[in-house]
Symmetry: C2
Subunit: 344 residues, 2 copies
């Protein structure tokens, strides 16, 4: 059977109506929706065909139809086809200043959740290669040193350590030079025993401090590459959609959103394909079990120097794909622009 013009119109009408109401939609509703262009009986016949073809389903015999995953998929593919040409209209979004990327991302997630009325998710930037760029030791207390570690991509980490034999100012200066000249540009794998023993030798009486510092640096780098940070926002928006908010489902979904490790399949896709790819997972397509009744839209951002992460929207299958896709596309542009500007 063919998906002719009329079937497409009807399918779209069903999806649109269902998006609005969340209720199964019947033949008369559609008939009215198309200004009685076709009678309800005709619509019924077409619906019967559409059901046979798998685009719509009946929750039970005497109810209207709702779109199936396949139906949504068709709709989404249509949208992306149509709208890809249309230039993303840039709304004024307030990304004023990237003071701390992390906090900007959190705010962004909040904004996004509030704007769309769906749940938003954002993964903190992962840095492809954790190369050391800069290390600085300073004394902050009589017996404490502050270690500032800057990684490639301007990711900054601090730690404070207690030392027993505190170097004096001049020794500190030398040690900073020592550290930077030996370590800059290295990844953690490249800091081997050879490098370490050479440094210790050069450090002389303060070899112990070198050990401490290296331990901290290793910790910092490891922590960063292991802990994938994922922030969520607006999780409770799901209560706005009856089909998701029965107790069983809501609980499961919210629990999943609370546990970062369950979400990593959503943000881990950025490996191969390029930066701004947008994925739409409808129902069973989702890699996350608890989201089989939802749709998930994810977008990968990439902010130069290999800093990349993922932004996602989680909502009911009847989400407003058009709006979400557009919002995400716009956001990507803005985020990258803002970052470039800051970067200069």
């Amino acid at each position: 059977m063919e998906l002719d013009e009329r079937k497409i119109t009807i399918l779209k009408a069903i999806i649109k109506n269902y998006m609005d109401t969340g209720e199964p939609v019947g033949s008369r509703t559609i008939s009215k929706y198309v200004d009685n262009k076709w009678s309800s009986a005709t619509i019924r016949n077409e619906m019967s065909d559409l059901e046979e073809m798998g685009y719509i389903v009946q929750p039970h015999t005497s109810a209207g139809r709702i779109p199936s995953d396949k139906g949504y998929r068709f709709y989404v593919d249509q949208i992306t086809l149509e709208k890809d040409s249309e230039a993303a209209e840039v709304q004024e979004l307030m990304i004023q200043r990237i003071d701390r990327l992390e906090s900007v991302l959190k705010k962004l997630a909040k904004l996004l959740a509030h704007d769309t009325n769906y749940a938003a998710l954002i993964s903190g930037p992962r840095y492809q290669e954790n190369k050391l760029k800069f290390i600085q030791l300073s004394r902050v207390d009589a017996d404490k040193l502050l270690i500032v570690t800057v990684l490639e991509g301007n990711l900054i980490k601090n730690s404070i350590v207690h030392v027993d034999d505190v170097p004096n100012d001049e020794e500190l200066l030398n040690m900073n030079i020592l550290l930077n000249s030996n370590l800059n540009g290295l990844t953690i794998g490249e800091i081997n025993l050879d490098v370490i023993s050479r440094m210790k030798q050069q450090a002389g009486s303060h070899a112990g401090v070198v050990d401490l510092v290296l331990e901290q640096v290793a910790e910092v780098i490891r922590a960063d590459s292991e802990d994938l940070q994922i922030y969520t926002s607006g999780a409770t928006n799901i209560f706005k959609y009856p089909e998701l908010s029965d107790n069983q489902k809501a609980s499961e979904l919210l629990q999943t959103l609370e546990h970062t490790e369950l979400l990593k399949d959503l943000v881990d896709t950025g490996d191969g394909d390029g930066g701004t790819g947008i994925q739409v997972y409808i129902g069973e397509e989702s890699p996350v079990q608890a989201m089989r009744d939802c749709s998930v839209v994810t977008a990968n951002y990439e902010l130069g120097e290999g800093i990349r992460g993922t932004i996602g929207i989680i909502g009911p299958k009847r989400m407003d794909y058009e709006k979400v896709l557009k919002t995400l596309r716009t956001l990507m542009v803005q985020l990258e622009t803002a970052f470039k500007k800051e970067e200069r």
Copy 2:
């Protein structure tokens, strides 16, 4: 009427039973619970009295009784009286290393939620006086400066700024000395025009950089004192308690837990009274509207140098107060010990 021995026994029995089951408890249940020491009829009479006195209520005529807020209050007061003498048994909790206080607190909340099966909340440390302790400028790129700001209490903040006229290494060294000698020990209020103009004068050709730095420092301090950080964990645990998990209530509660600003009344109490005070809010006693069906237990931690915050547990009114109080007490001790050790 007097709360005699028997009434107290019965009241406690009702509360204990209700804690286990979450169902209203009847006279026969209690009779069995006390090994038929008294018949159900006697219990009924006593229950009638207890109801009149306001310690228990009937959800409806033909149901058993459940404790009222007043009943819980009595119970909790009893516990704290009895157990205050008992030394808190220190379980081995893994607070290995305070590398970043923030991340430790987050983990703690997670642990706590998991341990108790209630929702946990933790407020990031607030610093009483944001005095500057140390500032350091370094060049990290051809045209970018890293500003590290350490506040009293070893709170470290970083920012990276772009500058057009980058000072050379020697100038940077001088500028660091200039910044530290002028600003150390000052609060933001104390950095007035007088100080600023004096510094600019001394900075000579790089007065612009001073401006940039001061702007960042001000931002850092302001951001820290304004944004009260509150982390929650295990929010979805509330689905384990039927009396909280009907859709309306669960949604409201979860929404509240998502919005930091609604929680600040819970953590803001630390003003007057000393460090380790533990508060128990039962039902209507809670300062937060959405928690009128819950009980909330909060504890204030104080980690020297005026760093203080709050840890809280949110659960059903029939929470295991004994366990929660004990856990929190233990935690406070551990947290302070771990911090002291790190501090040395």
